[in-house]
Symmetry: C2
Subunit: 674 residues, 2 copies
């Protein structure tokens, strides 16, 4: 009615009239304002805190009277006494509207709060997780109502939270009677509801759940399994951890694992057991690192390439090893997390992103979800660097995707002094073009190796090896310093004029750091290391070029480098190495682990799941394995930076010495087996 | 169009005009005629056989021309040559309609064929199982279509069979690629679809499935687990088997198992493991007996009382042991059969009927489904006799149900010479009132023990003990022969005048059969046996009376005796014993294992599941455990047949000698613990 009080909510600006005496929470629901509540307005969860305005609001054309809201009542008074209420804050479920009022909903009171992600394509993410806690009061059983406890719990959730058709696995059903009685029929139901399948009861907690629920975002790579433990109320990351994929003992690259499955009866099962075991360890490690009870981890999202996808699911990947590379299933999946070995809440679900095609996986889908090429005005190239690189090229007209078998070199594997990115690993390298002397930084120490305090600081971890980003910079720097010629050959001490070039068989190695005096390792870059990097970067370049051919463009306007170490790649060095086609260095940005980010986005947002499932159907995938031009591109890309591509974008920014150390008995690189 | 040929299907009588050239199968579908097809009209499954009429059909006002249907084509000719087609039969998918025709659909060609069940309430059951085979041809993958094999299979099922939103468990997903290729993309999909949850892919078979699918109907009792293996095409029972419930070692009656769970940490888990183990053995035994591959057993239906229900599901039954006897869950459940230990097709589902209340279980629901009291014009009492008796009283106005703790005596347990109903067990007994000499029949032998040929025939099995129906008849006969007085006391040799009454401590036993000479057992009915039967029958009677009180009737018009041995109970003896309130013997019928029958009905018909789930909500359950009058009824019912009830219906049919063997030191029966 016209003389009902007018209520205006900020920041949403939603406004409307409600009958005098309406609680603020109820008014917010009526007007579709996003105001959180777990206890359903019983004044115990305090999630619905609001900050009522006072005085004149010419902008809204209202003046708020002192008594626009009812005074502090007993419930609020008690809550304030026991847990403390910030000045000016009220409980939305207790304060009732008496006259025109402007009410601000602070971010922490918004259920679907917005989280800004810093990334190549900066975007706003809205919290909308599939799992949420719901506080309910359940009708007690009596002799005249013989229905089951679960039926009365479901009824309460339907009446108090409009959750219809609740289901529960046996392990939860087996617990509810004790919990209902322990909580004296007041419980918090943890419900998984993706809006598409019947809602599932994941857990039941006596009384009001205190603290948030958590989820796992997992990027299951061929070499590394990376995971984030995420709070499902605001999306913050509480712990990130990674471990080597235990499947490595069956083969370092994907295709060698596929052939292991082909050659060895039961081989696929072995690998499935191994990766599920790894996932279990990762989940446990993340929970410990964050000090979170595994029972509070109530959902997981997994992204991976198709071969890992099949092996994780217990599906023989043999079909992925031969044309037409048909996957057993390509759509997104909802499974029980325990089926995948994840030791979290027993009934927790695991959402597996859809795969795009036989060689283009859920990880590529996650990269698309994270970087949103389909919304870019100009074509953007996104490379997610790993043992198998996902490469995406697109703009709002179309999106192309392929994967390329770079091998594990970029992750520090198959490198003589290589190691995973961990404290003590060399991650940055600079080589003086004149003295040919190196300086470097190791993970965990701020100072460069030639700066004061480095040696002391380095004692903690030691200088243990070279990680992926380190080897990329090292090879690029060696090329710029003239230690390596365009063909990738390391010159001898005489040729390059430094004793750091030491003979090794018929080839040479460059000594980056000699720790032997202190009992540490001798860290060198060998000719073999250079070859491994050349093979990897050629595969990456060839894949990117293939997409450019298909897209019909010759040059790149924007490149996003992603990958387990993507955040640490120096764009300049990547270009010098020829990892990616030429592009102005300032137009090359890093997005960190885009696949992992995509997994986190899907974990925090049900809408994002629908979005990526639709988008995946629109992505055109290019099959590198059978594209004739892939070979050409690959061979031409073997030179550093490239045999034919002039890299005009680099010109002027760096000088690449015209040297050649080619003598008799040079060893040509071999095309790596896919 | 008016000049389109007119087609009339019999027996349905459905008629309509279809364009000339329409295949009979297609016409049947158009007109909603029930004509089976697994191959979807490809002329390979032969399920759609029809018998076209010839000549004049004045009844339908049509005359069928010789060429009303197209002639035998190559497909039919080939099918007839290889597998043989009955004379006059055509394949509905091949024969096309050219002019007016009358077409008969033989029973075996009806998908939803009717099965007449002989039972107290004779009824027609329509085959409508949840699991069915569907033959499909799946699009092969190619490089331009990167979707998964499962997605293309789902598409085929949607396009060819209108099955939408198919789901599959991991174990099936892991097999489909091999099967699709083995079947060269022609496969039979076994799909579970109860019409309420998303359809599930249960199995995938290369080419056309030959032979039917099977299901298990299981009646999980406190003492016995009985199972039927049923063909899902026509509902016939291929094997029936039973085994003792392995939980007996934890306690013979339900409440002693509940207390075992209360007293022993992990006790409930032990009992769950035991019963699931038993279910596994039963499933294996049934498959072997019928010579059916376990992989072809694609669904199971389970009925049981609430305590067994909880223990089977892994739920601690403690709440069922104390008022208000709240079950953890009461609605019908759909689970994976393997979760319950059933060793059948791994992804097979198990449907568990709803339970009515804390003491009135899914077995009572199954009895209602089988006997349909809610459709009876006059009140009918249905007792399903077991260790825990389900008792139902109702008519179309209302249905009451309760359960009563009879103990295992009626199943031959806790009886000195008792045994399960198996070959060699005494099942019928007659005692000459004058000579006091017994004659009996054993299971597996037609002749009575005093008839020629009995001894030879009995050698095969021996005379091993007394089963439930045998002990009931024995006690009733002993009462009629004056060997036992109304209080249940066995008279001494002197008192009853036969040496077959032998002293045993302070009481006497009656020798039914002495096989010791041939090394067989001495089979007697002891005073303890009589007491056990008295306790059991008193509990049964008291429960029935409680329902009559509630229903407001004094006498019964109709009684249905059901139970594991229900088919073998003699109504007259049941009345003499006072198992049930008085009723004219000819109005007492037997329904065999009504609970098991109910399970079979639910297995064969999805509609029956919906029906019983609705009906259960309307049933009023009476809680015997807290009804004060139960005690009164129980005590009064201890006498044989009864202390106060005159049993007018029996009068004139039998004479009950007015004897009394009550002396000093008589032992009064104790109320058994519930």
């Amino acid at each position: 009615m016209a003389d009902d009080p007018l209520v205006i909510f900020t920041p949403s600006g939603k406004r409307g009239r409600v009958p005098a005496g309406t609680p603020v929470l109820e008014a917010a629901r009526k007007l579709g304002v996003d105001l959180d509540s777990v206890c359903g307005g019983r004044g115990i969860c305090s999630k619905c805190q609001v900050a009522p305005g006072k005085g004149a609001f010419p902008k809204h054309g209202v003046t708020v009277a002192e008594d626009a809201l009812t005074g502090i009542n007993a419930v609020e008074e008690r809550y304030d006494r026991i847990r403390g209420l910030k000045p000016g804050r009220r409980l939305g479920c207790q304060a009732r509207i008496q006259s025109d009022v402007v009410i601000d909903v602070p971010p922490e009171s918004q259920l679907h709060r917005q989280v800004i992600r810093k990334s190549a394509s900066e975007r706003v993410m809205v919290m909308d997780p599939a799992v949420r806690p719901f506080y309910v009061e359940v009708v007690e059983p009596d002799l005249d109502d013989p229905t089951g406890d679960f039926q009365r719990l479901s009824m309460a959730l339907e009446e108090q939270w409009q959750i219809k058709g609740l289901r529960a696995d046996l392990e939860v059903l087996a617990r509810i009677q004790k919990v209902l009685r322990k909580g004296e029929w007041k419980v918090t139901a943890v419900v998984w509801d993706d809006g598409r399948q019947p809602p599932q009861l994941i857990d039941l907690i006596p009384g009001l759940l205190d603290g948030p629920l958590y989820g796992l975002a997992i990027d299951l790579g061929s070499t590394t399994i990376a995971g984030h433990l995420v709070a499902l109320d605001d999306g913050r990351v509480l712990a990130s951890s990674g471990l080597m994929n235990p499947q490595i003992r069956f083969g370092e690259d994907l295709m060698s694992r596929v052939s292991y499955a082909m050659m060895n009866p039961g081989g696929a099962e072995e690998m499935t057991a191994a990766v599920r075991d790894g996932l279990g360890h990762l989940a446990t490690a993340l929970a410990e690192e964050a000090g979170v009870e595994p029972a509070r981890i109530t959902e997981a999202v997994v992204v991976c390439n198709p071969v890992m996808h099949h092996l994780m699911l217990g599906i023989d990947p043999v079909e992925l090893g031969q044309a037409p590379f048909a996957p057993a299933t390509s759509d997104a999946l909802v499974l029980k997390a325990r089926e995948l070995g994840l030791k979290i809440a027993p009934p927790a679900r695991a959402y597996v992103l859809p795969i795009i095609a036989g060689h283009v996986g859920a990880d590529a889908a996650a990269v698309v979800l994270s970087e949103q090429p389909q919304k870019s005005e100009t074509p953007v190239l996104i490379v997610d660097v790993g043992t198998n690189a996902e490469i995406v090229l697109g703009d709002r007209t179309r999106v192309l995707a392929c994967s390329s078998p770079t091998g594990p070199a970029f992750e520090g594997a198959q490198i003589s002094s290589g190691q995973r990115a961990a404290p003590g690993a060399i991650e940055r390298v600079r080589i003086d073009p004149l003295t040919k002397e190196p300086r470097f930084r190791i993970i965990g120490v701020e100072a460069w190796s030639d700066e004061p305090g480095f040696n002391e600081a380095a004692k903690a971890t030691g200088i243990t090896g070279i990680c992926g980003s380190g080897i990329i910079e090292a090879v690029a720097e060696m090329r710029m310093a003239g230690l390596v010629d365009p063909s990738g050959l390391i010159g001898s001490a005489e040729q390059v004029g430094t004793a750091r070039s030491v003979p090794q068989g018929r080839t040479h190695s460059y000594v980056l750091h000699d720790g032997t005096a202190e009992g540490g390792p001798l860290i060198t870059v060998t000719q073999g290391d250079i070859r491994a990097i050349q093979l990897a970067k050629s595969a990456l370049y060839a894949g990117a070029r293939l997409l450019m051919d298909e897209f019909g463009i010759e040059t790149l306007d924007r490149v996003v480098l992603a990958g387990a170490f993507g955040a640490h790649i120096s764009p300049l060095h990547a270009l010098v190495l020829g990892m990616i086609p030429d592009c102005a260095p300032e137009r090359v940005t890093s997005a960190g682990n885009a696949a992992g980010t995509g997994a986190r986005i899907a974990l925090c947002s049900r809408a994002a799941r629908v979005e990526i499932e639709d988008e995946v159907r629109r992505v055109t995938r290019i099959e590198t394995a059978i594209a004739p031009r892939f070979q050409e591109h690959f061979v031409a890309a073997n030179a550093i930076p490239h045999a034919t591509d002039a890299y005009p974008g680099l010109v002027g920014q760096v000088s690449l010495p015209e040297v050649s150390y080619n003598t008799a008995g040079d060893d040509r690189p071999r095309r790596r087996r896919r």
